[in-house]
């Protein structure tokens, strides 16, 4: 399938920023604090640096064949049938990841904001918005992301400014109390959820209008998104303290409850929650878009739009099934998610990249 709708470099950067922040902003401060304690923000910095390496690697795959998306490239490199099989695995991965993001929204809303409403309502409502985003195509999505971006920045700045007064230095000291090992260990989950999932952009990059500058675009976006996450983690640790951050399921939301301007402006956490609604929306939509591109590519469809509703139905069903409880989710995420995502974000891409490079060199030798 040709990706006809094109987006420019600025829109791509905004996509990368939103996608990188994604659901990470909501859950990782807790995971980072569980491992790194008061040094969680250092883990976040390590996570961002490693993620930049991953992004660099993905852009070098994209540069091997800038017009073709990754699924197309899989079939060229691995042969038709092996390629199709791996593409199906990728489709499965994207569907499950999208369902996981929908589950996070449902869980967040039911546990924190509207406890009396059944989760399925949020799952369906959220998926409907995602469905319409995907149906209208990436160009519409990119423009709406641009509009969101302004509000995102405004809310984020408010969030940070209001909390600056509450920072307690004793919460982040002593630095390196438990040594370096737990800090690196804690950053692994951060990398797996933010850095490694960036390979989704291998399917979206062919929509970029200027293929030359993709590496720059992606790196800038990742860096900016990463900085936001570092700042949020730092605020969580320094305002709430490492223990509270660790034991809150959604520490960022707990942090937003702390916003208090002269006992006058308070309880604005739902407005702040707009930040993660937007980032999770973009992340889910890009996953969904990746499903559509992969399906269209694997089955040689001319148009992916008719499939949006049925696949959306599947995402709602799966989002209700995959995580029976938050305990299950935490256990699964810390045990299985990391090898699962590394298979798709690291093992397959490195095989494809290796074979692709080798084939390109062979072609050159034949020509000489």
């Amino acid at each position: 399938m040709k990706q006809i709708q094109k987006i420019n470099a600025r829109q791509m950067t905004i996509f990368v920023i939103f996608y990188f922040i994604g659901s990470t902003i909501l859950i990782t401060p807790a995971t980072l604090a569980a491992g790194g304690k008061q040094d969680a923000w250092i883990s976040a910095i390590i996570g961002v640096i490693v993620s930049l390496f991953f992004v660099w690697f993905y852009t070098s795959i994209a540069k091997l064949n800038p017009e073709k998306n990754f699924i197309e490239y899989l079939e060229i490199v691995l042969g038709k049938w092996v390629g199709k099989f791996v593409s199906m695995l990728y489709i499965l991965f994207f569907i499950l990841s999208a369902a996981g993001s929908v589950w996070i929204i449902g869980d967040f809303m039911t546990t924190q904001v509207m406890p009396a409403t059944p989760a399925v309502v949020f799952h369906i409502a959220f998926t409907m918005v995602v469905i319409f985003g995907v149906r209208w195509g990436i160009e519409v999505l990119a423009r709406s992301a641009e509009i969101f971006f302004f509000w995102f920045i405004v809310l984020l700045l408010f969030f940070i400014l209001f909390l600056l007064a509450d920072i307690k230095v004793e919460n982040i000291t002593p630095i390196f109390e438990n040594g370096f090992h737990p800090i690196v260990q804690a950053s692994l989950y951060f990398i797996s959820i933010s850095g490694v999932t960036m390979f989704t952009f291998l399917l979206i990059l062919p929509s970029a209008r200027n293929a030359q500058s993709i590496r720059k675009t992606m790196m800038i976006g990742t860096f900016f998104g990463g900085m936001v996450l570092v700042v949020i983690t730092f605020l969580c640790i320094s305002v709430l303290g490492p223990t509270l951050t660790e034991y809150n399921v959604y520490p960022t939301y707990a942090l937003a409850k702390k916003v208090n301007l002269g006992n006058f402006l308070e309880r604005i956490e739902v407005i702040i929650a707009g930040i993660f609604m937007v980032t999770i929306f973009i992340k889910t939509t890009l996953y969904f878009y990746a499903i559509m591109i992969s399906l269209a590519q694997t089955f040689r469809l001319k148009d992916y739009r008719p499939l949006v509703f049925p696949v959306g139905m599947w995402i709602v069903i799966l989002s209700l099934v995959i995580y029976p409880s938050s305990v299950y989710a935490e256990n699964w995420n810390s045990n299985v998610w990391i090898p699962f995502v590394f298979t798709f974000g690291f093992v397959f891409p490195i095989i494809v990249w290796g074979i692709g490079k080798w084939k390109a060199r062979k072609r050159k030798e034949v020509r000489n």
Partner: protein, 78 residues
């Protein structure tokens, strides 16, 4: 339970109403096959879920597949 079954059926009719005429008009048979596959499987699973029968969880299967590797990672990290 009845409410969700009726809801699913209504949504399905709505989806068919929106998509199928256009597909038939453009004679996109491959798209129609794919569409039907996802819709029928989705509706059936949705109806089973609406009847409050427990669906198998794909994440359990993935856990079984990855259990050797995740045990190994646990060992390294400890």
């Amino acid at each position: 339970m009845l409410k969700s079954i009726v809801g699913i059926i209504f949504i399905t009719i709505g989806i068919i109403w929106v998509e199928v005429p256009a597909l038939l008009k453009k004679k996109q048979i491959k798209e129609l096959v794919c569409f039907s596959f996802f819709l029928i499987s989705g509706v059936v699973t949705g109806l089973i879920a609406a009847m409050q029968i427990d669906l198998p969880n794909p994440y359990d299967w993935i856990r079984v597949i990855y259990s050797p590797i995740s045990d190994w990672i646990d060992n390294i990290l400890q």
